[in-house]
Symmetry: C2
Subunit: 656 residues, 2 copies
């Protein structure tokens, strides 16, 4: 028995083993498909160990491809939702069978994991969700130290929520990493059925529910315990019913430990199957196996999850939802066509991990505004300044590799400014393909904004310090709540100096403008982009004024969150915002310029994503082709009214 | 027999298998340590396959830890030197035994791989190098289409270069990826010894050398062949001596192929052991296994090699050279000390892959200069401009992750400017630790500069277009070749505008300076750094003039390549160049400012590495501590003469 209050890490492997049993007892049919290959006893040198002599005992492994393995995980909150990803990467890396995941989640984890698994599109993986709320009443009578402890206790009552048809299930905690095929663990069920079914009858007579509840109550009475964690109860049950426990070979529970037992396991085992250690930072340099554990954990932490979008080797296709259509669409692309890369990027389904870090959604307020933007690693240093300028909620999409997502996590942890801001939702979209999917990123951030209004900005812009308050006041004054279709324009400026003192007011901004320290945005290269905003009128304006759309207009706007999405066909750079503004105009949004609003673009070196494609000769041609298709689609949806956009574009081109 | 002229990919697995035999025949002792576990025949369902019933045949695997496995690879040139890294990562990921690598290399590969393995510091790996030149005469009589074909042919004569004491060796091509423990392949030796030793006698009588040479000569005569690749000869030998071939189970040679045979292997095999496919780009989307292959290959291509710096699990320590001292030094660091991270970073040995891309060393010229700089991923977009400004040789250290190194490769391939420049040597230093090891990077780049002089620059600076020619002329005029200790100062300027027209001459530069479009470098924040350069004198200067060192001086200089190295204790940012200039002054280098030389710093957002530590409160304290230690070391090395640096520093501090 493990002492109470031990770190959870110490107990979970016992838990894993016990649950394997527990669930087995309750849900096993008595039709063992896979029995022991020999009648030899199981002495820890099982299949998968190294030197198999003819006389050593072996478990039959179920054949690859056909047999579905069932895995259940209780997962609640933001941190566990990240942990489970690393667990699943390690399972998927080694697995050769189809998997059915049974995820018992709270609302937060469900929101995250539904999106993640939908976009991950791993073949031969089925995911079912179960509402952890339903299990709460069954365990909430047990005094528990932490709110999160309730989720641990839920493992006691899993059978009551999993489908009756489910015969066997492996229950895992989120903080383990596999270093072997999970089918080898599954094979233990065969062993149970052969050896421990004897006890099943007895258990069925008494009933597991009675067993653990009685034990828990007695513990509470006799041990004057004030709270019980799941592990405490398991320990107590094990103590009273040692016959329930079938020890797994030590390789299935390798922990960093100074115990002689663990040390002997390291030395004698040929192989390890599961490591149990989720905190590589708390590394004791003294333990000589620390490096090994750390390395395996970090392997999967930074592993590119899209590489796991593969059929189990040599198995017939198991397409996840949407994957077959996607594959057909991709197959129809012409690799020789010059815009192939653009079309391929547009069809790419990126894995999406919404609310990657802890997040407190904003309380519902009728005029609240979320700042929406997207960025990649090279703009991370903008975040602190942005947080200082925008005290309101933000929804940011980050385009990162799996390894970069870990760096990002560290970056936020280390930043005193970022780590305290719980109203910023970070959504990780995992990198895939050569072109920057700017509009797909914007749509992810937009979809996750929870306030009635959104400020559609870019990461290189810093809003006026007062902008958040001013926008909310403006929305209220303009009575936008009354379903009025309006796009509030925030005039955009830029500085070409990279050391720069940000203006505290419109008056200060105008002074800088007159001094030549500031310019209207892209005044030198592309004045058309913001010409309609009419900066000279804005100088004098005391009240919001309406402006008309004109060709190439791409202002930064505040709109209701149900506004049209960005067109994902525009990948890389160019026309991504222009098309969205046309869409707003086609849907008859009024453009209202706000007299006190402004936002300033800071200089930066061109990003790699931009410079890579600016120099490409086919880039302009492809962009042109995409524009034409966009206009055709507009005509289809808005009829002859949409002709004005095409005409305006052609006019502006003939003038140029 | 494979038809001649087939893609090499088709043949190499046969090669691998044959070589296993060939080398086995010649080098095997007849003392099989590991025999068949049963007397059953080997039918392709070997140990490591999935359903092991008690009656299926098994090979005994040698015990982990003790048995050293020998692997030989022929590796020549830049591309193979990259490929072998991915091969080795896959081998190391799964291995549990100590390995001895026998690398038969040309001078290029040896230079790269010696540095790589020395800095990789993988425990329980021994590397021996053999000069491929020695084997050339043995195979150069064979007509061959490509120069590189010679290296393929060398596999025919490997036994003549490997030590006689070597009993067994697995020969691998660089373009395979393992997905299993190489010990399982090693175990086949046991099988050979048991079953094929019979043929060893016969082979020994005739001799392999005679066999393949006769065959090759006959091929040349009868088939009117004009050239023979190694595979052609193996095929011919196999045809004449089919008894030499022992087929490996198909899982040891899984290739992307439309052959029915391969397809059946996919379906029947539970597992695959080695994939053979080094070109994920040339992916035929139609082949349903392509994703699987691609995924495994990319797994190791981007895998963080430092995670493989681990002892085989549960084995006693096998320290690579230097590792034990390093571990002791690390263990002596006090984790609670505020500067722990700095000291740890300073001790970190980064893996180094010198000349990561094809490179043509500059022809020896007595006054030639190499530009030396270092960068990380966020400065990659500087490279094209730098190449336009500096037409001479460069030695650049890049601080990258393994995955970023692949992106970098792609970036250079795609760039018309970079892909044609063969006089730029790129050295990849793999990321490890939170602080930017700026001086370690500079030292790597400096050590690889091959011209008599080096221009020690930074990546954000663009030199005057004429600088390369001007420097060479100046070196010649100043007769620096005569062992004169001189540091030629290149005055540094900066622009705060990120759109900027680069001055074509000193006259143009002075005009921009007077107009306020340019400034002397860090004029506003830190004039001390370049004060000694004496910009007002430079304006008028017609000839080089000597200046004296003063506190905080950090000019960009041209020095002989045997100049002092940078002090690696300065990691992160701050004092890294200052300390180097002090070192030059202490060694009595003359500082000579060149009247026509200049270099301009371009603006950029602060890098993540900088911003992460500027905000850290302990950062300044640690830097101060490092400075003090530096001064103590100076006194130790230069005696009382070094006191002037400390005094100057203290004086400047009391003034501030």
């Amino acid at each position: 028995m493990l002492p109470r209050g031990r770190p959870r890490a110490m107990g979970v492997a016992v838990l894993l083993l016990l649950l394997l049993l527990v669930i087995g007892f309750f849900l096993f049919g008595r039709d063992p498909e896979y029995g022991l290959g020999t009648t030899a006893t199981l002495d820890g040198d099982l299949y998968g160990s190294r030197n198999l002599s003819a006389s050593s005992p072996q478990l039959l492994l179920p054949p690859k491809c056909e047999v579905m393995l069932h895995v259940a995980v209780v997962c609640a909150g933001y941190n566990s939702s990240r942990e489970i990803v690393t667990l699943m990467k390690s399972v998927l890396f080694y697995r050769k069978n189809p998997l059915h995941l049974h995820l018992i989640t709270d609302a937060i984890a469900r929101n995250i994991l539904e999106t993640l698994f939908r976009t991950w599109m791993v073949p031969a993986v089925v995911v079912s969700f179960y509402d952890a709320e339903e299990l709460k009443p069954l365990v909430s009578w047990i005094p528990n130290k932490h709110y999160s402890g309730l989720y641990g206790l839920m493992k006691l009552v899993l059978p009551s929520i999993l489908p009756l048809s489910l015969a066997r299930v492996i229950v895992l905690d989120t903080d383990v990493t596999f270093s072997s095929d999970i089918v080898e663990l599954w094979a233990f069920f065969g062993h149970f059925s052969g050896v421990i079914l004897l006890w099943l009858d007895r258990l069925q007579q008494t009933g597991w529910e009675q067993v653990w509840k009685l034990t828990a109550k007695r513990e509470l009475l006799t041990q004057t315990a004030t709270s019980l964690a799941d592990q405490d109860i398991f320990n107590a049950v094990i103590k009273e019913h040692p016959e329930l426990v079938h020890p797994l070979p030590c390789v299935w529970n390798v922990q960093l430990s100074d115990h002689t037992l663990a040390e002997r396991c390291y030395l004698e085992a040929a192989d390890l199957k599961v490591i149990h250690w989720n905190s590589p930072k708390k590394l004791q340099v003294k333990n000589k196996h620390a490096e090994f554990f750390r390395s395996l954990h970090l392997t999967f932490l930074g592993y590119d999850g899209k590489l796991l979008r593969r059929e189990p080797f040599g198995c017939p296709n198991h397409f996840p939802p949407g994957a077959e259509q996607l594959q057909q669409a991709l197959a129809q692309l012409d690799e020789e066509e010059p815009c192939f890369e653009f079309r391929q990027q547009q069809l790419t389904v990126h894995r999406v991990h919404i609310t990657f870090l802890s997040y407190q959604p904003p309380p519902p307020q009728p005029h609240d505004v979320t700042l929406v933007a997207q960025l990649s690693m090279d703009r991370l240093q903008m975040l602190e300044a942005l947080c200082r300028h925008w005290p309101g909620p933000m929804s940011l999409a980050l385009y990162l590799t799996d390894a970069e997502a870990q760096q990002f996590l560290h970056f936020v942890d280390m930043s005193p400014v970022l780590s305290v801001r719980k109203d910023v939702a970070y959504h990780v979209v995992y990198r895939d393909g050569p072109l920057y999917p700017v509009n797909q990123l914007r749509n992810v951030a937009l979809a996750q904004a929870l306030t009635p209004y959104v400020f559609l900005s870019d990461i290189d812009f810093l809003p006026a310090y007062s902008l958040y308050d001013y926008l909310r006041a403006s929305i209220e004054q303009l009575e936008l709540g009354g379903r009025r279709k309006a796009a509030l324009v925030v005039p955009a400026f830029e500085t070409l100096h990279y050391r720069f003192s940000f203006p505290k007011s419109k008056a200060e901004l105008l002074t800088l403008l007159d001094a030549g320290s500031l310019h209207t945005f892209r005044y030198h290269e592309w004045p058309q982009g913001h010409a309609s905003t009419d900066y000279s009128r804005w100088r004098e304006a005391q009240a919001p004024y309406r402006v008309q759309w004109s060709a190439h207009y791409e202002p930064y706007v505040v709109v209701p969150r149900d506004c049209p999405r960005y067109d994902p066909r525009f990948v890389g750079f160019g026309w991504n915002k222009v098309a969205h503004i046309i869409e707003l105009d086609a849907q008859e949004y009024e453009f209202l310029v706000l007299p006190e609003a402004f936002s300033i673009h800071l200089p930066h070196a061109p990003s790699l994503d931009i410079s890579r494609f600016r120099s490409s000769p086919t880039y302009r041609d492809c962009l042109q082709a995409l524009k034409e298709e966009f206009h055709q689609d507009l005509s289809r949806r808005y009829g002859s009214a949409a002709l004005k956009y095409l005409t305006a574009l052609q006019l502006s081109r003939s003038r140029a």
